[in-house]
Amino acid sequence: MIEKLKRHQFLFEELVKRDFMKKYKRTVLGMAWSVLSPLMMLLVMRLVFTQFFGRGMDHYTTYLFCGNLIFSCFNESTSQGMTSLMGNASIFTKVNVPKYLFLLSKNVQTLINFGLTLCVFFVFCLLDHITFTWKFILLLYPVLCLVLFNIGVGMILSALFVFFRDVQYLWTIFTQLLMYMSAIFYTVDRYSPLMQKMFYLNPVYAFISYFRKIVIYGTIPTPWHHGLMLLYVALALGIGCLIYKKYNTRFLYYV
């Protein structure tokens, strides 16, 4: 796999470059758009929800931002990853290239967007009087997990999308629902302990709450929390790779 990646490094770079150019072509703000959209979301949520959910709560802005940051990354990466295979059908039906390159190239793009938004996030943390501790280094773990998880889900979705175009609409609805279940703008304190645990069935929530624990509460999440995230990553990547392996030579019958 590594060797293969090395051999296709040039192609990969060119694909990333192409995706970038196509996405930001003829836009005035270019990449700033990608940062702007979660910020707008944040602004609206902040204005609307502070009176309802943010009462008597410190660092509500940061709380919101954590949720938005992770969720928008997940949303962008998966929904764009979904079309990556189909969108490059004219290439992989004519040239023999590893098909996961298209997905990875899209993910590089979302990762860079995520990086930019993360910088803005830290600025907001400063403004919100969050104390930075050494524990912030641990944030690398959820970021890494999120990236791998996104790739895994992207693989599953992009393969399914080749077979069934319905997936696109289903996924839009699903992510909407998921957003409301990810406790982005509300806290889960009022739910029973059992319900609070149930929230962890949602992988995105697990990532978000890891972020919050470190940034807002300054605590290190339990080993159990770490393990759960790893499990989600392994599941998504495992299923994704399996599907790609199995259908690698059959995608081209369907496009």
Binding site: H8, F10, T249
Partner: protein, 254 residues
């Protein structure tokens, strides 16, 4: 030691309306046991091998399975039965103008195509000027690709694939592109590549071209291999007879 060995290759396509149905339809058909995929053999028991320096011409009417066979040779498709063994790098030019991106400039497309064909960045940096010069697209370098005429697009594709000296070069209806001047240039280039020892495969509907350039001929008809050999003129003559309706061909029974 043959550079390319195609052994008893059969390729089955899946056809039918299974591509167009949604999830609901798919599930109901599966439940009723009505889900069926029609099978269609695009190529059946094709066997041949090429030595270094050979120039193979594949002839056959439309739907003979030529392009499908090329896809199997270049590794895009897996043969359903049999195997393809290849030595060295392979550059396949299938349906030339596709795979380019209309929004990117000529320069960007050149690099992207080069990358797809498996070249390194260093190599492309060295060859870039030569490629553009050969394609005669110097003044179009920074124009979006979609503004080129279709002849120019094919010229660029041909130039990228040819100037790089792959061990095996596959050309699907490539030489019939461009204007007369470019066609002469590209034929000369092809000959240069053949004489330099590369193995090439050419699919063409121009029998003249095939007669003139090829050293071996593979004749396919509806997926079946009718003839293969180095009797270029003989096979072409018989093919021509069939085209003229003077000869009936019998498909070998399976």
């Amino acid at each position: 030691m043959s550079i390319l060995e195609v052994n008893n290759v059969s390729i089955r396509y899946m056809t039918g309306d299974f591509k167009d149905i949604g999830i609901k339809e798919y599930i109901t058909r599966r439940l009723r046991g009505k889900y069926e995929v029609k099978k269609f053999w695009a190529d059946k028991n094709v066997t041949f091998s090429l030595e270094k320096g050979d120039m193979l011409g594949i002839i056959g009417t439309n739907g003979a399975g030529k392009s499908t066979l090329l896809k199997a040779i270049s590794g895009i498709m897996e043969p359903t039965e049999g195997y393809v063994k290849r030595e060295g790098t392979i550059a396949a030019l299938l349906e030339l103008a596709s795979g380019f991106d209309g929004d990117l400039t000529v320069r960007e497309n050149t690099y992207l195509r080069g990358a797809m064909l498996g070249y390194t960045r260093k190599f492309m940096n060295e060859m870039y000027d030569q490629i553009i010069e050969f394609a005669d697209l110097k003044e179009f370098e920074d124009r979006p690709f979609k503004q080129l005429s279709s002849g120019m697009k094919s010229r660029l594709a041909f130039s990228i694939a040819c100037l790089v000296q792959p061990d095996i070069l596959i050309l699907d209806e490539v030489l019939s592109v461009g204007d007369g001047a470019f066609r002469r240039k590209s034929e000369a280039k092809m000959k240069e590549i053949i004489y330099s020892g590369a193995t090439s495969i050419l699919v063409s509907h121009s029998l003249e071209q095939v007669r003139e350039m090829c050293t071996k001929i593979l004749w396919l008809h509806k997926g079946h291999q009718i003839e293969f050999g180095d009797d270029v003129q003989g096979i072409c003559d018989r093919y021509q007879e069939m085209l003229d309706g003077k000869r009936k061909i019998t498909i070998p029974a399976n």
